[in-house]
Structure formats: structure tokens, C-alpha cells
Symmetry: C2
């Protein structure tokens, strides 16, 4: 089953130019925008925050106790520590690790020269051409999990592809986990909003992978925000206690709207984000040395008119390049960027902003990219068409990163010049015949025909082509093969927990 | 001066979101994608083409005569020459030069760390929301010249912003030149399609600038394509004789659709383009050592379905990065890229493709970017909305390139951390109050409001906002001041030449 799907993907790659790799192994060099002096100034700022300003660990006496015991200076709930100690702790985190998928062919490598794309996370609303904008529900959620599973350019399922708002908040995570674990065989994240929900995530992952495998491998990760500025709340430390102590991955993301949760300056916001994430990384390494950790960064600019966050703008673009360089120096895997936009619909604004955001995310070397497809309205809304449109573009980034410029003898095509005269053409020459099928990336959703053909086809814009595409994909969906006993065990776990937990809508 | 201009740039940025600099002085480092081995292999290929394969100079015995006299090997019309000689000739071209505008505050620097954005060139069709798709005419042309003049993010007028198809081909250039010279005071290009039209361009420029100024300065440039593969026709050599011998600029652009006008390989196409443009540069330097020259590159990929060119794809993206690096090594100013797309309308496809194309153009360090705004349908159509939408995005690139990441003391904002507590906010702190007005680029055409405000405003997509914007701009248009005598002299020149030249539609 899995094999069949891979073969058809590989065949597809010949037709589409897409690489059927489960993640991107980058060969393109990184882009370093900071000079030595800038790096020194930013790292000095990080050290100053760690040592002088400090970071609060709030509402979690157990976390403060650990910091005290290990020798940090704790003042009320503010933790300060020598920066070289924090950096040494961070160095215990792996530079690169594998997150297993239940289909081993889809396991992903996080860190180093690997880059992994996952869809939008956390939107309460969904939108599509036919149904318009509405609250997310479990039906939409499951469709999004299926589409993510099927799309060759998405490597990872993420988690809350939309909020299933028709299910009580207290039980939602169970349905989401069950959907990811049964409708897809790609790797995914788990819940973090409350300790018991994180616990359910890890327990269900243990059913899928078995205790032995889980003891030795990362099979699930939690993605959690600090409470910027400079505040780590219990959601973070409890997630760390559930995921990290069991050797599972933790992605910690300062979300900074510059001017609100950080100074109104890109450099200061980047340094603050580094300090916050590194402090949590150090905490995680105190809990369990070597636990996989991803340094997150999510920086947005602001509209002067309304104070609303803006995306795809020069400040977050430059912050992607800068944080990429700093994360590589710190030796930590990085999550940043995505196909981000403030647009409400799938128009040119959405695409311009998403492309500039994602182009810089790609070049910055982001190892794990959440929100790489489907994001609208500053993250409030998951667009079905947007998911498919963004994902089509990800194939292009995949080729840029994975292949770079081929300068082999075959690529230099000297034999072609024996056949083709000045002013002639290369259309039928032997070199072209040998190579044309794989020479170009062919995106599924771009229309490159002339205006007459396009009009004959109904003058459809990209949004309408995307609408047709995702509907076609859902019609063709087949669930990945799964061990029946495991499926039943998961279903029983969900049923049992749903009985235990009271309905709650917060 | 530099200091003052930075300050006023910052102030203006508050009002328009745009930097009012006449061009971009890049501070961001370049992005080098090629390693030493790749560079060596590509340059060896260039040398091989120059020395072994050769390049035809067709239908121009005078050009072949010059090559022979100077010592090249000429076989029929194929010119071969030692690559070190060609490279030494190319080294005579200035690494950087100024093109004067008739308003000296709008003169642009071409080469080095400068980057200049110009609109689309050469489309026979135009399109806007109200009028739909139609042939270009002089009225549309003049509107496009006005909009380019008014837009702060376009530094250069280009030339054929659309074809004025209602004017005979034989006379069109006169109306276009007159419009650029009177409706705008930005620098622009001249005609190249026939020697007499190039001559008219230079004569009219002499009226505007005076013979003395013109003798010492570049005041106009021609932009001309080679006839790839490996063919330089009379249009190129005659343009060189008109522009270059008078010390005016020449931009020479191999347009290569990989697989047709070059091998179906990005590396081979890039090397071929380098060889073609360098050979013409050498020819130009034989005509007049030191004549300003811009090495052009225009590479497109191809749809496997139809053979139609595709844009914004991984192959041209990587070619932008590669050619940028090779041009810097050759010490020649570079034209490449643009906001390119195969889409027929101003939809998400147009924006994704344009943004990825332009993001790579920007980072590649392209010194002169034709087609940076307005391009649709693979260049067949100038979109009024597209022009304004693309131009709005250019402001973002301007800030990324011009400012990079500010890591000054003020940017690091240490005083803000004295005021703001963990979990607090920076909205009202002194550092924010000092900096918020200039902190963020604010694009005119992006809507960042919440969905309710956007719906109250009529749920307009970016295309409709662009439509309103360009109409508003034209309503507010005022022509730049101009010496009345010069205006009359230009008008008289045009009238006289129109009498001399017979109407012709080819």
C-alpha cells in the first residue's frame, strides 16, 4: 500500500518535477546576512537578557525549584543565569534528530541541512470557495488531515490544521490525535494546552509505536509558545515535563509582535526570542539531557493604522534570515516563518505575502516550517484553496533547496552544441530528449497556456483551480494501511478518555 | 548628504511606506550559491563557447570587419576569440556608472551595490479591471508613463511600458520618447528596433540634456536581445554603433527559454547567456573603450504540456542567484529577473510567481530590473492593477536591501527592558514612542485589518484596491516642470520626423 503510493509519487515526480523525498535534504548553501560585528552584538544582547534581565517561570514552583537546585539565581519568579552555562546546556540538545512516522518511509529528519514543511496550526475558522468562511469543525479537520497526507510537498501533518469547534475543548485533542494517527501515516504533533492533554498525546503515540520504540526515539512533538516578553508559563514547563522527560520533541516558539511583545525593533525582538527559547531549551536539558528541542521564532510586524499584525513584510523577512544564522551558530534546529499573510481571501495579497515570507523561510534554512500552507487572516482562518495553492508552491522551494544548480557534465550539455547551429533551436537535440522530462518543475496549479486556451478552459483563476484540485484529491483519498488491533486500541483509548473527561468549552 | 537623505527617507516612509531614494543602495550582503568548483566549471564553459563554439555576428559585415581587424578568428560569420582577450575587453566597461535623469535628483547609479527598478517592457496588450484585455494604445502608454513617474518604488521609466498599437510602428518610438521626456522626469530607455529609431532616441536625448552633457554622461540606454542561441544580429550591433559610440548605455540580454534557445539545463543556459553577453560587451569595448554596458540575462523554464514559457519557477529562481554571482565576478552591471508570471490575470498565481521571481532578483543583486512591475501573460500584457500591486511590493524589497538588520544601540532597545516587566507589553514605552513611526514598512495595498472591518469596507481584494489606487493617482497627476523651449524643440523634432517617415505597420 505504502509502496504503491510511493511509486506513483515517484512517477508523478517525473511528470511534475517534484521530489518525492519525505523531507528536504538541502544542498543549497545558507544565506548569511549578518557580519561578525552584528552577530557579536546580537549574541551579547542575548547574554545580557539571560544574565541581567532574566526570564520569569510563572505559576510552576516545580520549575523554579529545579532552577534553584541547579544553581540559577531566582528572584521571585525571575530566573537569571550565566549565559555560558545556558549555552552549554543548549549544546546538550541534538543538532539534528529523527521524528519517526508510523510509516517509516515518511520519518523526517529535523535539524542540520534538513527542512520539513507542515501545514497551518491553530485556526478557529476555515474557508473555501463553496462554503465561505465558517467555524472549523471535525469534518473540516479530517479533510485537512487527508489533504495533508496526500500532498507530496507537505512532509509533516502538524496538528491543529483547524480547530474542530463542534467538539468540546476538553475532548478535541483526542479526536485530532485519532485522525492524524489513522487517516494519515505522516509524522505529526501532539496537544500542549493542558498537561493531561499532552499526556494523552504521548499515551496514544505509545499505542502506535510501542513503548520500546518510543523509549529510544522521538515519535511525537509538542509545539508551544512562550508568553513573550520574557515569560515562560506553566503550559510550557508542563509540556516539557510530559514530552521532554520521555525523550519526545519540544518546539518552543516566542511569538513576538514587534512593538507589543518585544521592542519595536527587529534586532531586539530577534535577540529576545533567542534568549527566551534558549532559556527553555536549557530547562529541558536539565530535565533530560539530550532531549530533542527545536528553537522557534515567530516575529510579526504591525500596521501603524490599527496595530494589527502584518506578514510577508521586510521586517519579518529579514528576521528569518537573521534567526537562521543565529540558530545555526547555536547548533539548534530551527522553526520559523511559513506562508503567512494578513489577507482574508486567496487573492494576490495573500500570495505575495506568503511567497515573500516563505522564500525567506526557505533560504533561512528553517528546519521545521509550521504554517507552510493554508494560512489566511493572520492565522485565524485555514483556507482549503490556500492550503493547496501554497503546497503547490512548496514543490518549487523543494527543488531550489534540494538540487541547487547542477553543473555536472550532463548539465553543461556540450554535445548539444555539436547539433545546434547559431540561431537554431535545441528542441529536438539528443541532450534535450535525454533530459526534458526532468528538467523543469511543473506545478499543478499554475496555468501557463496562452490566453485563448485559458479562456476556453473557463478563465479560471488559481483559486478555482485549487478548489477543483482539493475536491478531486478528497474523492481519490484512500486511507493508509494500518494494523487493525492498533486502530481498535486507539479507538478504545479515545472512547475511555471521553467518558472520563467532562465536556468543557474552554 | 547621505545622512540627510537617510533621515528624509525615513520620514517619508511614514507617509507612503516607500523609500523616496532615486534607487537602492544595497547594504545587505550578496547571496552566493555557487562554490569554487561550480564557478570554475561554469566559467570554463563560457570560455569554451567563446573560443571553440563561437558566436555568429549576422548580416553586419562592418561588425565582422572590426572583429577581423582586431584579431578574432572569423569563419563565415562565426566569431571565435581567446577568452582572456574577451575578458580583458569586458574589464574596460565600467563596473558602475550613472544614468542622468533630466531631474538630477532622479539620476540612477547602475552597477556595484546599486539596484534600480523599472516597469514592464514590450507588451502589445494592456488590461485593467474596467476595460478588460485589449491592444495597447498611446493613451494607455501615456497613463503608464505617468504612473511610473508618480510611483516612489519605481526608479526608472523603462521604455515600451506597452505598445501604442494605434500609432504606426515606424513612428511609435517618437511618441513614446516624447511621452517619457515630457510626462516624467525619471531616466528612461530609447528605441532599438531599427538604427534610425535608435538615432532618433539619441538625438532627442541630446535636445533634453544638451550635447555637452551628453558627451560626458550616459543619459539614455538601449535594451536589446541577442538572437539566442549564439547569434548576434544587426539590431544588436547597430544599437551598439548608435548608443555605445556616443558613450550611452547598452543593455544586452540573451533571452533563453531553456530547451529551445539554450540546452534544457539551467547551468548550460546561464553559461551560454554569459558568453553571448560578454561577446557583445567585448564588441562594444572595441567600438568605444569604457562605454557603459549592462550584462543581461533572461532565462525562462518551460511547460512540458505545451512548451509555453513558465515563470517564478525553481529553475529561473536559481539562475538569478547564479548569474548574480557570475556577473559580480566579471565586474559587469547586471540586468536580470523581474516580477514575472505566466498568469493571465492578477490572481494568486500571478502574485506567487512574481514574488518568487522578484525575491530572487532582489537578493541576486540585479542592478537594473526591467519588468519589475506590471507583467502578465509571459510579458504579452501590461496590467494596470498588476503594475500598482507589484510596485507596492517593491517597497518591501527596497527596505530589505537598503536597511538590512539594524543592530545599533537604539535598535537593541535596552532601555525598554527597564520599563517593561515579564509578561507586560512594549506598546507605550519610551523606546516604542521614539521609533514606532519608522519601525515598519506599511504597504499601501495590503489590507491587514480584521475580517469585519474588511467586510465593512466592501470585501475588496487586492486587485480592486489597486484599481482604485491607480485611478486616484492619475487624478492627482501633475507633470514635472520642464523648460518650455526644450518641450517645443522636442515637439518640433517629432513633428518633423513624422513628416519624413512613411507610415509602416512592421
Amino acid at each position: 500500500m505504502a509502496r504503491r503510493s510511493r511509486t506513483s509519487r515517484a512517477r508523478n515526480a517525473v511528470q511534475t518535477g517534484a521530489a518525492p523525498s519525505p523531507f528536504i535534504r538541502r544542498t543549497l548553501p545558507h544565506y548569511d546576512v549578518l557580519d561578525e560585528d552584528q552577530i557579536a552584538r546580537l549574541e551579547e544582547q542575548v547574554d545580557w537578557i539571560l544574565q541581567e534581565v532574566g526570564i520569569a517561570f510563572r505559576d510552576d514552583p516545580e520549575a523554579l525549584e529545579l532552577w534553584k537546585r541547579e544553581g540559577a539565581t531566582v528572584n521571585k519568579d525571575i530566573v537569571r543565569a550565566p549565559s555560558d552555562w545556558i549555552r552549554n546546556l543548549c549544546a546538550k540538545a541534538p543538532r539534528e534528530f529523527t521524528q519517526l512516522a508510523r510509516n517509516p518511509e515518511r520519518s523526517v529528519q529535523i535539524g542540520g541541512m534538513s527542512q520539513v514543511f507542515a501545514p497551518i496550526y491553530g485556526a478557529p475558522f476555515v474557508r473555501d470557495v463553496e462554503g465561505g468562511r465558517r467555524y472549523g469543525d471535525l469534518e473540516s479537520f479530517e479533510k485537512l488531515v487527508k489533504l495533508t497526507y496526500m500532498h507530496p510537498n507537505l512532509h509533516h501533518g502538524g496538528f491543529v490544521t483547524c480547530e474542530p469547534c463542534d467538539v468540546p475543548v476538553s475532548k478535541r485533542h483526542l479526536d485530532m490525535l485519532f485522525a492524524h494517527m489513522t487517516l494519515s501515516d505522516k509524522p505529526h504533533l501532539g496537544a500542549i494546552t493542558e498537561m493531561s492533554r499532552a499526556q494523552d498525546s504521548v499515551e496514544m503515540a505509545e499505542i502506535v509505536f510501542g513503548a520500546d520504540v518510543m523509549a529510544e526515539n522521538c515519535v511525537i512533538m509538542g509545539n508551544v509558545n512562550t508568553n513573550s516578553p520574557l515569560l515562560v508559563d506553566r503550559v510550557v514547563t508542563e509540556s516539557a515535563r510530559v514530552y521532554s522527560t520521555r525523550g519526545q520533541g519540544l518546539i518552543v516558539v516566542p511569538f513576538i509582535l514587534s512593538g507589543a511583545m518585544g521592542p519595536v525593533s527587529t534586532a531586539a525582538s530577534v535577540a529576545q526570542a533567542m534568549a527566551e527559547a534558549m532559556m527553555v531549551c536549557a530547562y529541558v536539558q536539565l530535565l533530560r539531557p539530550g532531549a530533542p528541542f527545536v528553537l522557534g521564532n515567530f516575529l510579526s510586524s504591525m500596521s501603524l493604522k490599527s496595530g494589527a499584525p502584518t506578514f510577508g513584510m521586510p521586517e519579518p523577512v529579514i528576521s528569518n534570515y537573521a534567526i537562521g544564522q543565529l540558530a545555526r551558530r547555536a547548533g539548534l534546529p530551527l522553526r520559523c516563518g511559513g506562508s503567512l499573510t494578513a489577507s482574508k481571501i486567496e487573492d494576490a495579497q495573500a500570495a505575495y505575502e506568503s511567497a515573500d515570507s516563505m522564500h525567506s523561510t526557505m533560504l533561512a534554512g528553517a528546519n521545521f516550517v509550521l504554517h507552510s500552507a493554508g494560512w489566511l487572516e493572520g492565522g485565524l482562518c485555514t483556507g482549503f484553496e490556500k492550503l493547496i495553492m501554497d503546497a503547490a508552491r512548496l514543490g518549487s522551494y523543494q527543488k531550489v533547496l534540494g538540487q541547487g544548480l547542477d553543473t555536472s557534465d550532463e548539465a553543461l550539455a556540450r554535445d548539444a552544441y555539436d547539433e545546434v547551429e547559431a540561431g537554431g533551436h535545441f528542441l529536438g537535440c539528443a541532450h534535450t530528449m535525454r533530459n526534458y522530462q526532468t528538467a523543469f518543475y511543473e506545478p499543478k496549479l499554475s496555468d501557463s497556456e496562452n490566453v485563448e486556451s485559458w479562456q476556453e478552459g473557463g478563465s479560471k483563476d488559481m483559486r478555482h483551480r485549487a478548489y477543483e484540485r482539493w475536491n478531486q484529491m478528497l474523492n481519490e483519498y484512500e486511507p493508509p494501511g494500518m494494523d487493525e488491533a492498533k486502530n481498535e486500541e486507539l479507538a478504545a483509548y479515545v472512547a475511555h478518555r471521553k467518558e472520563e473527561i467532562p465536556d468543557a468549552w474552554y
